[in-house]
């Protein structure tokens, strides 16, 4: 009967399902648009407020490892909520719909970015951020790309562990597949800011990869 055995899950692993359910419920189209945004804000705010409270501690080095674990779970819970949202729709109508969520999620991304910048030495934080980004990419669409360079420069891939890079590849893959964006710009932006091109001009364009860029 039990394909997922509750007895073998951790409390948080199981709560992730509940957060995902929250995402599904908030994004029901029959709910008025404005109310959906409010509900999303309400759902995200406890996690954001808690993150803010932790980050406001003066001596960041004094933060207990348990608190790092807590931060990691808070970020993952945000990712789980966003997983419940419908996938980004590239059609015009779809883009308009997806934009509904932009603001609360962008605020959230900024909060996560701060945590990553401070605690990127912790593998569980990096893992939680990867988890959240992958989930959020589904509903946010190309808008998330704006943030990828910042996440990279904030140490998302600061580990030399092949495992972490391999775990990140599906995200890159997802971006290329879903949004048909040549991600090389993201990489270039993070390493060569002078190549920066506005995201809006990149969409659906496959810019030629210049060998000179790498020299």
């Amino acid at each position: 009967v039990q394909k997922i055995d509750g007895g073998k899950l951790s409390e948080f692993d199981s709560l992730v399902y509940l957060f995902e359910a929250v995402g599904y419920l908030i994004s029901i189209e029959e709910i008025p648009e404005q109310r959906r945004v409010e509900l999303l804000t309400i759902a995200l705010s406890p996690s954001l407020m808690r993150i803010e409270a932790i980050m406001s501690v003066n001596d960041i080095n004094a933060i207990h490892p348990t608190t790092i674990g807590e931060l990691s779970d808070l970020i993952s819970s945000i990712g789980a909520i966003s997983k419940g949202f419908p996938d980004f729709d590239a059609s015009e109508k779809g883009q308009a719909n997806s934009n509904i969520w932009s603001q609360p999620f962008i605020t959230t991304l900024k909060g996560i970015l701060v945590v990553l910048g401070r605690f990127n030495v912790h593998a569980n934080i990096r893992e939680a951020v990867r988890f959240a980004l992958q989930r959020m990419a589904g509903c946010m669409g190309p808008e998330l790309l704006e943030f990828v360079p910042s996440f990279l420069s904030s140490g998302l891939l600061s580990s030399e562990s092949a495992k972490e890079i391999i775990e990140f590849l599906p995200f890159i893959n997802q971006m290329i597949y879903k949004f048909q964006v040549l991600l090389i710009h993201v990489a270039l932006d993070s390493q060569y800011p002078s190549h920066r091109v506005e995201a809006s001009t990149r969409k659906n364009q496959l810019l030629p990869l210049s060998a000179a860029c790498w020299n």
Binding site: L9, S10, Y17, L18, F19, E20, L25, I26, S47, T66
Partner: protein, 602 residues
């Protein structure tokens, strides 16, 4: 020759010392050297001779290590006989034969330890396999000499050697090469013509004489059961032997062996007509029907195995292309007589007894399916209905066992049996789907109605759990294998829809037992689409998720499982949940707020 061997001048003495050292020394280097020496002896072409002499020459029984020394020597001898027999010349083979009989005679005088005795008998029979019949036609004459000692030990040894013949030559559980099988066939053919009649006569005579000595009588019963598969059954069943067997059913020490022996007799391969005559001639079904057993778990399991054998043989005979219509008619009649026994032992309290009947039950249901397909007559619905009821009762948890407690082994065994029972239940559905539907619907609705009527103290948790479990498995038993149907084509509510409505309206989800809650939520997920058609019941379902029955249950494992099930429920019914969203969020926001508290401080 190994250098290790060369340093010893007297191999026999040194072998003895090396075996003792290998057994007792705690010095790993010395132990290694001793074992190396033993192995080098084993590998020598004449190693068997050293072992034969080592086992033979010393008065080892005065030493505590003597049996082990002999055992090692016996192992080397066995290996030689099995794998290097061709390297032995005629004189050496003769020497081995004489020595083995000599040791047997020693054992009859002074009892060997069990493991040594068994190994010695294996040696004799491996040699027998190599020599009989051509080079050792007098084997059985020599074997009978053992009996001349007259003591019970002599008789037991004689019977044990006969058992070893079965193990080495006949037993089908041992994998054998085609050459060995061919050799064994020659041995069996020769034995049938020259040895079996006298052997059977001897066993019968021993059995009759030593009925009061359970140890000997049991060995005889085992032998009859082992040999009956390949010898003339008339030699076993002569002089009304089956009546003697039935008498043993009244003897506590012999009844299990007698039952097993009878089971093997029933299994003997033969034409369908002969099989029917055999079962009829044994009068076994009436005998078992009149048998009264009180509180003997092991014996009941043996009886169940016997019934299984009889039933399987009848079903196989029915399927046999050689069966005539008349014989098939007889088989159906015999199965009808056997059916009450099937039912009785399936319903046995112990799952091992129930499980022993599963092969017969499968065969029986398959046969019913065929019979039904050919004609609507012949099989009564009452049989199927009784079977359904018994299977359903057996699917119930044991009320006395504490649910979810202990190491889970008992529960896991129960779940295995339950799965098998469910498969059989589903087979009944393929025979008569409407009967199955009515029976299940009846049990399920009766339980829910009972709860709703306020009989809350009278309803056991195992009954409540069973009703919901039957509802859970209901769709799997449907012949159509399509998605669950809640509303029939004529617009009326389907039996499944009725059961689900009653599940929700009865409030049985409030039964205060985790087993009930667990299966209840699984049902909600499996039949989530039902709520699209009965949207008025959604609040009841949501309420159960959102209170102490579900997300706030006191049992952690259950609570965590419900988190996942709730997600699936929401995903399945998302389009119709809009109006409940805010109420749901207001209840579960506590998890969003307390994620840190729940996971890091609890």
């Amino acid at each position: 020759v190994s250098p290790v061997v060369q340093i010893f001048s007297l191999p026999m003495d040194e072998l003895k010392t090396a075996i003792e050292l290998a057994m007792i020394t705690v010095d790993p280097a010395l132990k290694e050297q001793a074992m190396q020496y033993c192995n080098s002896i084993k590998a020598l072409p004449n190693g068997w001779e050293i072992c034969l002499q080592t086992a033979e020459t010393n008065q080892y029984f005065l030493l505590t290590s003597a049996p082990e020394i002999r055992f090692f020597c016996f192992q080397v001898l066995e290996e030689t006989l099995r794998h290097r027999y061709q390297s032995l010349d005629q004189n050496q083979r003769l020497l081995l034969r004489k020595t083995f009989w000599k040791w047997t005679a020693e054992h009859l005088q002074e009892k060997f330890p069990y493991f040594l005795k068994m190994k010695l008998f294996v040696l004799i029979i491996v040699l027998f396999k190599n020599e009989y019949p051509a080079a050792w036609p007098t084997f059985f004459d020599e074997l009978y000499e053992i009996l001349q000692g007259g003591r019970t030990r002599c008789i037991k040894s004689f019977l044990q050697i006969c058992t070893t013949i079965d193990e080495e030559v006949v037993c089908q559980y041992i994998q054998r090469s085609p050459e060995e099988l061919a050799k064994n066939t020659v041995i069996k053919d020769t034995m049938r013509d020259h040895a079996i009649p006298r052997l059977l006569e001897t066993w019968h005579s021993i059995f009759i004489t030593y009925r009061s000595n359970a140890s000997i009588a049991k060995r005889c019963l085992v032998l009859f059961g082992l040999y009956v598969s390949w010898i003339d059954i008339g030699l076993v069943l002569k002089d009304g032997f089956h009546t003697t067997l039935y008498e043993c059913f009244g003897n506590d020490e012999l009844k299990n062996a007698a039952c097993e022996c009878l089971g093997n007799i029933v299994l003997k391969g033969m034409k369908p007509s002969d099989k029917l005559d055999l079962i009829h001639g044994l009068d076994v079904i009436p005998f078992l029907s009149n048998l009264r057993i009180v509180g003997d778990e092991e014996f009941e399991e043996q009886i169940a195995k016997l019934i299984n054998n009889i039933g399987m043989e009848l079903c196989d005979s029915y399927e046999n292309p050689a069966s005539t219509d008349e014989e098939k008619f007889r088989i159906i009649a015999m199965l009808d007589n056997l059916f009450p026994l099937l039912l009785k032992y399936l319903a046995n309290e112990y799952d091992d007894t129930t499980s022993a009947l599963f092969p017969f039950l499968s065969g029986y249901l398959l046969l019913l399916k065929r019979v039904r397909r050919m004609s609507t007559q012949g099989i009564s619905n009452d049989n199927l209905r009784s079977l359904l009821e018994v299977l359903a009762i057996k699917m119930k948890y044991d009320e006395d066992e504490e649910y979810g407690m202990g190491d889970g082994e008992d529960e896991s065994l129960f779940m295995d049996v339950r799965r098998s029972l469910k498969v059989h239940l589903e087979s009944i559905s393929t025979i008569d789907e409407s009967l199955f539907t009515n029976c299940v619907c009846d049990v399920v609705c009766r339980t829910f109605d009972s709860w709703k009527a306020g009989n809350q103290s009278g309803l056991k948790w195992s009954d409540a759990e069973l009703a919901i479990y039957l509802l859970y498995g209901f769709v799997e038993a449907k012949v159509s294998h399509g998605p669950p149907v809640f509303i029939l084509e004529n617009g009326s509510v389907s039996p499944l829809g009725i059961m689900l409505s009653k599940l929700m309206e009865s409030g049985i989800s409030e039964y205060p037992h985790p087993a009930v809650s667990t299966i209840y939520f699984e049902v909600l997920i499996r039949y989530a689409k039902f709520f699209e058609q009965r949207q008025d019941l959604i609040p009841i379902a949501l309420q159960s998720f959102l209170d102490s029955r579900g997300l706030f249950h006191s049992i952690k494992s259950l609570r965590l499982r419900v988190n996942y099930l709730f997600l699936r429920f929401v995903k399945a019914l998302r389009p119709v949940l809009a109006r409940y969203t805010e109420s749901i969020l207001s209840v579960i926001q506590v998890f969003c707020v307390d994620v840190a508290f729940t996971c890091h401080k609890a």
